[in-house]
Every structure is written in structure tokens, then in C-alpha cells.
Symmetry: D2
Subunit: 446 residues, 4 copies
């Protein structure tokens, strides 16, 4: 790759609470940061509805992307200092790969829309595909900056994100079971939520990472730091990302967007101020500019306008979302799953349209897995390198990781209006509430 | 005060990165938090345009208000444990005052609009007056919750914020030169910006605070902790709040809002999608609902729409704001101030409307002051209590605080487009740029 | 218990890096801290030879004991605020138990000698028995202070440490699988070593602890915080407490003390300055004053004097200990154990007395266990309390804890002089070294 | 300098709570760390008697020296990356100077004896001269390691410590008003005491340091970080290093050592176990081995033995020191100074030998000073480099530093037995106590 990479005359730094400073050394990185597509990420929260539970978690995808870039830069520095490639094919680090790694790290989340999951669910979009499209479409500022490196550079960067790039070290830096993306978000989300579960020893992990032919491995003496990282990640999922209250707000949001879409499709929005930036989504004819126009604040703006719409459901759900009134929930299992329709019916009888006021919501995580060639999306397993250079897979040496390996852990919940749990003695529906409440015990559906 | 304060059956906690947990013990506090007016504060950033410089500073006024509440609660707990009033007029702490103090602490920033300074400047609003109005207007949810305590309770809370409340201890908890408000924002802004300047020893200051007849004093053995707080505050102003780049973004925003207002007043917006939520502001007929409808995201939404308006200035300034393209600046002094019109003229000749593309911006702070009855808005000085109970004013015992006392420290800057500092050799205006650049040296106008 | 507990007129605080401040509120606690037996703990390092590996870990048992006291105080405060006993036998917290809990917490490590394990091993002492003896012997200052509470108070405190005290809540605060002792040392050792493995969310655990008839349980919603604590503890053992280099120094120390004892017993110390404070130990006639005279510095003083003794082994081991020259090691297993005598013989042939220059050293931990009435020293299992008040044992709800439950995890190593691993080409013993080195591969004996 | 510097095959790291890891890259550094003279520093506390006030401050000079080395290494890395010398005399950084800088940094405190000030005072030793002597004496292991670099290398290293080395950049790294030594001790002492006053932004200061012909300067945009450092240093002196209680213990120690010396000189120790390692000091015939044999623990060992000596004063002061019973104190001024003899007389009448039971103790600091060629030991002032390369002295641009410049700040105290402040109603000396107490008011002598 004989690409022309211009260095900045003097390194530019961005102050960051997680990495202290983020160091930008190449003009292309600075130019990418300054594009409108990348700046948009300032207006999309990293954790969506989680800030309704963990009030400090108001950080944006912008800061996360900067952090992933910085960790990737530190990995490249370490590889270049300690494991520089001497001959082709020696499995060591070729520093010509640095710039593609840095760009892919910085841009990996570019395609995230507002409040990711709920939005993607209703409008059937995929942030990973949008990321690649923003990188490769000639109309974006991102693409124009990348093309200044070389005409095929945008595709290269996109292929790293698609995991089809030939250099596996670069791919695994950005996406594997222990990559710059996950390392940054665990530390960052732990810092901003104020929980401690996501803390692990980044410095030590960076020290024990090393390139080999098949990608990236970890020195045997760093095994416990890697184990600690896997446990931290597991605990963040259990404690933060799966929190039932955040999901209660996500359900409100999902139902709210669905109601808006339904109203639009039935021409019930006519006569009111149109949510013009959402119309392409309602009409299923979204182009890249439509997509990039959106952010969290734009959705909130329409919710504010909808407080004055006459539709009671739209109004109520908008109010619930803007004023943090989550749906309540209870866990269900395979055995109690068949009670859900009955419960939804009670909710309906109590006066709530069950289509918009009940929902299931499931959160699953596979904390760690070994490589399985028969799986569709198999994971790259974490390899530990012994003194003699041989590799062993992490779960064979860590009792704790082994306990999590290959197990899909999840939490399945049924969501409904808070009113269903309250006392309503003099209400015409009071009997329904009592009936409903008999089915909830110790946070479970029985 | 024989008010009826309902305690929650079990204390409710909110996790917070600064105070670890925020403890809510009264139903009225929980109800206030759940109002729509208070939840709106989640959508207004605490530091406005500072997050364009310190990327982590994306925290909202919501979390700050929760923090001020928590510090006030800790002060009350300490006063109640160590200095409970026994007789009327003994100058010690009467715990009946707790609830008014807690409510005022929680609500003190309720009236903040989006991007405070720029917005207030263009639309001539005052967040302190709005705060009082939201508390006392019968139409708000806040007012309805407060009235459940007693019919005159909203006015009491408002009077604490207006500093006219009779109990000076309560007033000084919420607003004085060392109050719960400032203590929370220094720690919080330091945490989220990732700087260390705002750190001070909160635990120690809380330990040495004590009530006396005239308000709140500090034990002599805590003098250095108080001194450290004053220095921290000074340094945060110099390093964070006055940062020239954040102000460069604030100037862009101010000019952008002015352009929009001017266009609206000259009917140049007709034919395009109207910024309906801003119209009452353009027309100078804002009611409390109009005011409370706004937040940061709503302004950003209109800026996004304006990217497609035909007015070049509106479009360009919207783009600059959304993609973080700050105006550049240089310091001026009383001596060089008379050069500014000339410099603005050069900017105009170079092709920029000087009304929207040049500006002065001044940041002043009075880090600490002693009480001066002849001043209009005189400050409550910080009193140190000696072993024998006598008071001495802080700056008489601290050489460092003395060096800052009564001095208004500021930074006066002239802002202009970045292009004015660049090289334009083959440009028809290149001569103008050269002329302009001769006036800037070592970040100063000469 | 109608004991007379004098409160201090004003709470006294001790600044501490882990708990910020340690709050002393009773005169008896302050008096205990000021005894000579308690002050001696300033001169005994908490982690013994670990500071040779983790240089920051130079903290003393004094600070740890203060920390255990503080955590116990916080638990009592929480129990008293939220779960005060109303009737005898309601299983809630009787605050009359506070003072015995606080004293036991403060004093629980009083009997630790210098460099615990090595010293106990050679001189056959037991720090737990010494702790009880120091508390109950009328000749100590500790005993005199405790007797001022009541004549049977020393025995009560000692019985808490012996786990025979009738109130199981008090016993479990001080010693159980999740007690104030372990919580303090994990946080403290993590802080001073500079590792992060021992960090867990103390505030949250304190919030979810609650008394019940059988002792102490944890609210179901705090299960993950408890799980995180168990994992932190496991990781500290693996990463810090079992570190092979610290153990290499411990082996040096053990052999050094043994050599000294052997020389004394064979009258080989005559003619030199006697280690007078060690003589009672050499002669196996130790009284309580002899025991309490010792600390780390006294051992080091004798090692310094022994640098001038004529015995080459005593001299060399003293030098090795004072200048941090650990023995090297390799892991062995049940299968390779029978090679050790042969390896020791090689060491002997290479010129080292194998009695003093080879050793096995094994570190075992049982990270967590359920209660087993058939075991000699069965553990109190960790109980999780569900919403309906029923208890379930931790490992039944935590996959991770389950993976560790009941498993004794350890590391068995063979220690030998560093010279055995070096190249000695022109040495008369060079053949022996080569032979030895063939038996070590990937840090294992083969 | 054509010296032969051997790099380690692989960098060795030491974990450290302040710098996370300390990176050793040269064999000579590792060999120096492993000498017996350097390992001795593990047994000398960094802050002497301060740990009696700040219990966590038990860290040794060993860890501090490692930290100074690490900061120096970071400065060299920064200078080499950003300001490498191209021609002789360009005032930039010549990386051949690195190794002498690193060795001087590591070894700068080698000559510290136990409990520095008290010991130096009584035995008239000077740790800076001992440091140079240990480096240049052929009999030390340190010297032998250094000579392997080159025969004149020990003298070079010693000359850096003596500030006579020709390269001013190297000298100022190790000793100036903002050097690696002070930066490490402020951060380290803040961490271990658990105070926050000593925290400042090391990363930022390292970024803005730059070499110039006259030594080291700081970029203008880092002025506030430098200012913050000066304030941190000032506050640590006021709050930690000058703490009256630590000094009360230092006075006990000083008097104790003086009493021992006096007894020895008057042959009053005969018949008891001799403090053999102190005898050369008593007899004023100390050689380098005598000096290097000492550490904190050895003094404590003799104090333990002296508890059984018949001299009441020696016994009592030993007990006071070992069990933390500090002398009490009150401030005096120039005006009240002449009362001290009278107060000492009262102490004597009350039954205490005033020679051993009263003392003055003064703590002075010059927080910052500008260069003054007429002063004997003039300081190198802190220079700020403006955009155009010109230098301005720090206090001319910082109002806060200016307030401290050239001012010697101190605290003068008179120390006496605690009994003098207590009530003694039925004591034969009770009148004396009352008389004494009339002279103390608000912590001042009046």
C-alpha cells in the first residue's frame, strides 16, 4: 500500500475523561472528525434510554468513537514498538496497516441512528450497513476525506468493518471478543454510569496483546487481566445494559414510534404540523441524507409537538417518554410464556390498547464463545500465547470464563402500564387490576 | 411551619457518578423529580457549548440539580446531628427548614433555557425569573406538587431562590460564595470534562460548615479546605468556562439565532417549514408553556431544517454550529479596542457580513469578594469561625484568596471567521487577509 | 447488657485513603487505638513480602484494622437506621451490640507477628490465639481499657473473634465469607498495590446487607454486587496474594529464620551480638511481652547484624532478604512431584545446601463454599433474601460463583536459587545446571 | 560521551499506584535498583513521622525514587520525540544525556537516613552529601554498577545531584522549582495520605515542557497547569508537611535521640545491651558502612530495647514515640517569643526536665521565587515560553503565583507535654498547670 499519509505538523489532542488525552497525529483523522457525518454523533447518546436509569450516562457516540480510535492507536504503537514485521508473512505488525485501522476504529459506529434499537426495530434499518454506506457513498464528506488517501481507501475501511479485510490483526483490533470497541465502551459506560463493574486493567491488556499470523493473541502472563475483562463485560450486561427500567423506557419509545407510523399510514396526521424529517421513514423511502439528518433531539422535538396532537395514545406515550414514565415489567419463562396473552387481555379490559400498552422485551448476551465453524456468525475466540509460542483458548485455562462460555444468558420480560400494579379500590376496573396482580410474585409472572 | 411532610416508606436512591448515590427520603422530592418541568432538564446541557471543547461535558442540568439537592441534604444532616436548635433564636439549625431547603436546591435551575447565554441574549429572557415563575404559576406540575405541602409553600421556595427568605442559613446553602450549587457544579464539571482543576475536598468542607445567626460559617481548622475550594473555582473559570473555543461556538450560535430572528421579522421565512416552537420568541409573546417546550434538541432540529433554507448566512451558520466550526478570536485590551471596527471592516471586504461574522465576547469573573453594603448586588463573604466563636473573613487569613479578592478577572476577545487567518494567495481578497493577519500577534490584537 | 459507653464530646476523625475519614465516636475505641499493643501494628506490614513485588504495598496492619472498624461502624449505622430490633427475638438489630462489634472489628488482627506466615511456621505461633490472649490477659493495656466497659467485656470481645459469641450478626460482621475484614483488605490491598482486581462496590453492598435471625443476608437486588465481591476476592488471590515472586521472598525468609534457629540451638551464635528479642523464640519460652516486642523492623535489624556473622548461609540469606533476591520457582503437579528430591539433589551438587536452598511452597484458596455441617471448619454461606423474605444460597443464583464454589484452587511450586537458571559455561558445576534446566519448561517442572 | 548503554532484551515493568507502571529499559537501571544501597530505601519511610497523622502515608523512599526515575524517563521521551537536537548548541535535547539523567533521578535520595530531619539534626549528617558519597565511593555496589558505564560516570551522576553538571536541562529535570522529584512526591504523598491537595495534571505539564538553551521552559498554553502545580505544592506544605501533630512526634524523636546520645557520652548506658549500630554515631566516627546500615526499623528496635532501660526520660520518650504520644504545641510569634523561657520554666516546675520536654519547632517554606543572583542559593525561576519563543517569568503572568512569590511562609511552634493542657485539680503542681494554660488561647501563645 503506497498511500500518502500526511502527518500533522504538531499532534493535536482532545481531552477525554477516560483516556485523559486523545492524540491525533494524521491530517486524515482530523478531517474525518470535522465532517458533518461524524459531528452528528455528538447528538446521538451512546446508551439510549439507559440515562433514564443511570442519570450520568448522557455521553454521546462521538466520544465513544474517539475512544475506540485512541485505543487502536495505542495498540498500533505497541505492536510497532515491540513486534514490527521484518519480512512479509512473519505474522508480525506491518505499520502500513495503521491508517486503515485508525480510520475504521474512528468510523465504526457512524451509521447509528437515534435511540438505536427501538428506531431500528420500527423502521427496519441496520446501523452496520449504514456505516458502510456512509463510508462508501461519494456524496458524504467522510467519503471525500477518505478518497484523498487513495481511491480505493473507502472500500478498504468499509471492509474492515465488514470483517472481510485480509489483515486479520486489523479486523480483530476493531471487532472481536476483546477489541478496541468493547474495551472503550466498557470503561466509558462504567465511568459515566458511575458503576464500577466495567473497570478492568486496560494498560495491562494493551501490554500483553501481540500480533500473530492468525490475528491477535495475549501473553500467558496476562491471562488474568483478560479474564477480568470478560467478567467486567458480563457484569455490565447484567447490571447496566439489561436494566429493566431502561428497557421499560425503550418499550415506551418503540410503541410511540409505532403509533406515529400507524397514524401516518392511516392519514391521521393530516391537519397537524408534519414531522417532516420522519416522513421518508414513514413512507419507507429513506436516502442517505434522510438518514443522516436524524438524531435524538429531532425525535424528541416531534414528541414535544405530539403532546398537542389529538390522538390520545400518541399524546400519552409522548408524555410518558418525555417525562420518564417507564412501563413496568415482570420476568417470564418458557413455562409461564403462555400466560402473556391472558395478561394482555386484562390490560385491554382495564382500558389500555394492548397493542400499544403491552410488550415482551428480551435481552440476550453470549458473554464469550469459542470458535465454531458450523455457526453462521462464529466468533473469533481469545487466544493465550504460552512461553513457547503455542496458543491455547482462554476458556481452557480460566475456570470463570469457562463457566460463561457458549451460554446465552438472557432476561425475558413482559411490560405493561404502571397502573396495573397500583391499588384501584373505587375504580370500575378494580377487579381487573386485582386479577392482574395475582399473576406477579417476586418480580416473576406466575 | 406546621407542614405535613410525608416520608417515603423506603428511601429511594439514584446512582450518580459524583455522589455515588443520591438519597431521596420525602415523597414531595420524588414527585418534583417526576414532573415534566423537571424532566425537561434532561434535555438541556449543563455547560452549553463547552462540550465542543471538552467532549465529555455532555451532562445535563438534570444531574446537576440532583447533585445540588444531595449536597443540601448532607448539609442538613450534618447541621441536625451536630448543631440542632434548642431555643428560638439560638442561631442553630431548625430542622423544620429542611424541606424548603431541599426543594429550593432541587429546583434552583428549573428556568434554564437551551444554551443559556446565547438564547437569553437574543430573546431577552432571564432564567432566574423563569425559575420563580415556574414554581409559583398554578399551571405547572411543579406548583401542584409544592402546594400539597402547603398553600404558601411555592412562594417560600421561590423566595429562597430570590434570596429574600428570612432564614439566612437556608439562603446561603443554596446561594452564596460557597454553596451547594457551586460545590456540585465544580465537582461535576471537573468529572465530565476530565480536568482536575475543579476537584476539592467536599467531605471536609461539609464537616467544617456550621450554622450561626447570620448564616453559615466554617471552622477555623477547615480554612485550607475552603481556600482550596476558592482556588478550584477560580481555575475552572480560567481553564474551562472561559475557554476561547467554546465561546467561539457560542458566538456562532448567537449570530445564528439573530439571523433567524431578523429573517422572520422581515418575513423571509415564509414559504418554508416554520420553526413553530420558536415563533412565540420571534414574536415576543412567550408564555410559560412556550418557554417550557424548548430544549437543546429543539434548537438543533431547526438548525438541521435551516440547512435547506435558501438564505446563505442562515445556512452557513447552521452548518458551522452543527459541525463544530467555531469562529476564531484574538484578545483585545482597552488600548487596542479601537482597532475592532477597522478589523470588522476588513472582514466585510473579505466577503463576510460583519454583522453576523464578527463579534466581541467578554468573560468576566469575580472569584471572591468581601461584603460591601454600597454595592448593588453585594456578596455574602465567607466567614471563618475561630475556637472562641468569633468570625474572621476568609481573605484576611488566606494569602491566596486575598490575591483574588475583589478583582474582576476577564478575557475580552474579538471573534471572526477562521478563513481570516488562513493563507489565500490566489484569492481576490488575498490582500485583505494579509492586512488582517498583521493585526494578530501572540493571540493578541495589536 | 447494661454497659456504660462513654461518647466522645466531639467525634474524632482519622483521614484514610480508602474510607476518606474513619469516624471514632466512643472513648473506648480511641483509648484502644492509643494502647501500645495496637500502635505496634503500625510496625507490621499488612502484606508481608508482597511489597517486594508490588512496591506500593507497604501499608501496615494498623490501617487495615482501622478500616475494618470503620466498615463495621457503617454496617451498624445501616442496621440501626433501617432494621432496628423492636422485640427480643425479632431477628433485627439490637444496637446494644454495637460496641462489642466495633471493638472486635478493631482488634481482630492484634496478634499478628512480623511477616506472619514465615514467622508462624518457624516458631509455631498462631496469631488468632495471640489475639485472644492479648485481649484477655490482665497485663495488657488493651485488656485494661476493655475492662472499663465491664469486667466480662474482654471475654465477650474475644468470643466474637473466636466465633463463639451468641449474636451471629456480630460474628458474621467480623468473620464470614463476606465480612468487614475481607471487604477492607480487598479494597486496601488493591489501592496500595495499584491493581484494580480488588475493587468492588462497597457502598452498594452495605446498602443491601440486612440482619436476620441466623445472621446477615443480602437483598436480592444486590446479588450482582455480592457476586462481584466474590470475584474480586478470587482475583486478588490469584493475582496478588499468590504471586510467585513474593513467595520466593517468603521462602528466603523462612529458610533464614530456620538457619538462625538451628545455629542458636547448636550454640553457633556465641561470641556474637545476640538477637536478644528473638532468644525467647529460639528457646521456646515466649511470654506475651516477648511476643508483643516484635515487629518487622526488629527482624530486619537482626538480619542487618547477621551480615557480619561468619556463617556463610546465614549471611547469604540475610543479604538475599535485605536486598530482594528471591528464590526462583517452577510449578509442579501431583505427577511431577516425585522429581523434586532429584532436583534438590542437583541443587546440592551445584554447591547449595538443599535444606536451606530448596523448598516447596503451596498456596491454596477456597474462593467460596456452601455450608457443610460435616466439615470441621465449615463456612457460613452467603444468603440472598428474596422479596418475600425467603433465603437462597448465592451459588444457586450466580453462575460465576457456582463455578468457584467448593473448589480448592492452588499453586504448588518448587523454589531454588536463581543461579540454577543461569548459564555457567566455564563453571565446574556447569553440567549440573544444564541437567537442572532440562527439567523446567514453560514455568513447569517436567 | 561515547558510553556503552546496554538495553534490556525486553523492557521490565514495576507496578506502581501513581504511574501505573514504571518502565525500565536499560540494564544499568535494573542493576542499580538491585544494589543493597538502593534496596535499603525500602526500609526508610518517605514522610517520616507524618504517618502518625496521615495513617496511609507509610510509603518508602524506594517507591518515590522509582517514581522520579519514571517521570524523568517520560520527560526524556517527550524531548526526544518533539525537540531532538540537530546541531550542537541548538538548545534542543541531546538524547545522549538520557542515561545520566535517569541515573541521577533514580539515585537522588540515596543518602537519606532514618527519620531524616530529627536524625540529621542530632547527628549532624547531611543526606545530600551522603548521596554523592555513596555514588562516588568505590566500595559501594552503586558505584560499581555506575563504573561499568564509564570510569567517570559516577562523578557525572553526582555532579547532576550537586547541580554542577554542565547540561542545565538535565540538572533542572532533577532539581528546580518544578522537577521530577517534586512532581513525584506531591502526587505520591497526596495518594498515600489520602488528601487531594497535591493532585495536579502531570500529563499536561509533561506535554508543555520543552528544552531551551538555558534549561527547561513551559509552553504558554500550559501556564495554568504550572500555576496549579505551584498551588498544589503550597497546599501540601501547609496541610500535610507542616502538620503540628507530625512535628509533635518529630520533637519526641529528636529529644529521644538527644537523650540517648547524652547518656552514652556520660557512660550511663554501660551495663545494658548496647545499640551497636548507633555507637559510631554517638562517637562521631561514622563511615559509609555505618551510615548505610541504618534504617527506620533499626531505630525502632533500639527504642523497644530502651523501654527496659532504667533511665526514666529515655524510657518515657521511647514509649511516647512507639505508642504515638506527641508533644502538644501552640504557635508563637516574634512578639510572644520572649515568653517561651518562662513557659519552659513552668514545665520544669511541673516536673518535666525542660531540656527534653520543651522545644521550639519551626517550619518554613518559600513556595516560589524568582531568580536572584545576589542570593546564596538562588532558585531557577519558572519560565513560560510565548508563541514567538520569548520567555516570561511565571509570577508575572499568574496573579496567584505572584501572591506567593518570594514570601517565606512558616509556622513557629512551642512544644511541651500534653499533661500541661490537662486539668490537675488535686495535683501538687496544679497551680503550675493553670498558670501555663493561661498563656494559650486559640492555639496561640499569648
Amino acid at each position: 500500500m503506497t498511500i500518502n499519509i500526511e502527518k500533522l505538523p504538531r499532534e493535536k489532542v482532545f481531552r477525554d475523561p477516560i483516556h485523559n488525552y486523545i492524540h491525533v497525529q494524521h491530517k486524515v483523522i482530523l478531517d474525518l472528525i470535522n465532517t458533518k457525518e461524524f459531528q452528528r454523533l455528538r447528538r446521538v447518546k451512546q446508551l439510549g434510554t439507559s440515562s433514564f436509569t443511570f442519570q450520568g450516562a448522557e455521553h454521546s457516540r462521538f466520544t465513544h468513537c474517539m475512544g475506540v480510535y485512541e485505543i487502536t492507536r495505542l495498540i498500533c504503537d505497541n505492536f510497532q514498538r515491540n513486534y514490527p514485521s521484518v519480512t512479509d508473512d512473519d505474522g508480525l505488525w506491518n505499520d502500513d496497516e495503521r491508517i486503515v485501522a485508525l480510520c475504521a476504529a474512528l468510523l465504526h459506529d457512524l451509521g447509528h441512528g437515534p435511540y438505536s434499537h427501538a428506531f431500528e426495530h420500527i423502521f427496519n434499518t441496520d446501523h452496520e450497513q449504514w456505516t458502510q454506506q456512509i463510508i462508501t457513498s461519494p456524496e458524504t464528506e467522510i467519503n471525500q476525506v477518505l478518497r484523498q488517501v487513495s481511491s480505493d481507501f473507502p472500500e478498504k475501511v468499509a471492509s474492515v468493518i465488514a470483517k472481510t479485510y485480509e489483515n486479520k490483526q486489523v479486523v480483530q483490533m476493531i471487532s472481536s471478543q476483546i477489541d478496541a470497541d468493547r474495551m472503550d465502551y466498557l470503561l466509558r459506560d462504567a465511568y459515566f454510569t458511575g458503576t464500577k463493574y466495567g473497570m478492568f486493567d486496560l494498560t495491562r491488556i494493551l501490554r500483553v496483546m501481540r500480533p500473530y499470523k492468525g490475528g491477535i493473541a495475549f501473553d500467558a502472563n496476562g491471562m488474568h487481566a483478560v479474564e477480568d475483562y470478560v467478567l467486567s463485560r458480563f457484569q455490565m450486561y447484567q447490571q447496566v445494559y439489561f436494566h429493566p427500567v431502561s428497557r421499560g423506557m425503550e418499550v415506551v419509545l418503540t410503541k410511540l414510534l409505532r403509533r406515529a407510523k400507524d397514524l401516518y399510514e392511516h392519514n391521521q396526521m393530516n391537519g397537524f404540523e408534519m414531522p417532516s424529517l420522519l416522513v421518508p421513514f414513514f413512507e419507507n423511502r429513506v436516502n442517505i441524507n434522510d438518514y443522516l439528518a436524524l438524531d435524538d433531539g429531532i425525535l424528541n422535538t416531534y414528541f414535544t409537538l405530539w403532546l398537542d396532537y389529538p390522538d390520545e395514545i400518541l399524546k400519552d406515550l409522548s408524555y410518558k417518554f418525555l417525562t420518564r414514565k417507564p412501563f413496568k415489567s415482570a420476568q417470564y419463562t418458557e413455562e409461564t410464556q403462555d400466560k402473556l396473552p391472558k395478561l394482555a387481555d386484562i390490560v385491554e379490559v382495564a382500558g389500555f390498547d394492548k397493542q400499544y400498552y403491552t410488550s415482551t422485551n428480551t435481552s440476550y448476551d453470549l458473554p464469550y464463545d469459542v470458535y465454531n465453524p458450523r455457526k453462521h456468525k462464529s466468533r473469533t475466540q481469545i487466544e493465550i500465547m504460552q512461553n513457547d509460542g503455542s496458543l491455547i483458548e482462554l476458556s481452557t485455562v480460566s475456570r470463570l470464563v469457562n463457566a460463561l462460555t457458549g451460554k446465552i444468558l438472557g432476561d425475558e420480560r413482559f411490560y405493561f402500564p404502571k397502573a396495573m400494579l397500583e391499588e384501584h379500590s373505587d375504580d370500575i376496573f378494580s377487579e381487573e387490576y386485582t386479577k392482574f396482580q395475582k399473576h406477579i410474585y417476586n418480580d416473576m409472572i406466575i
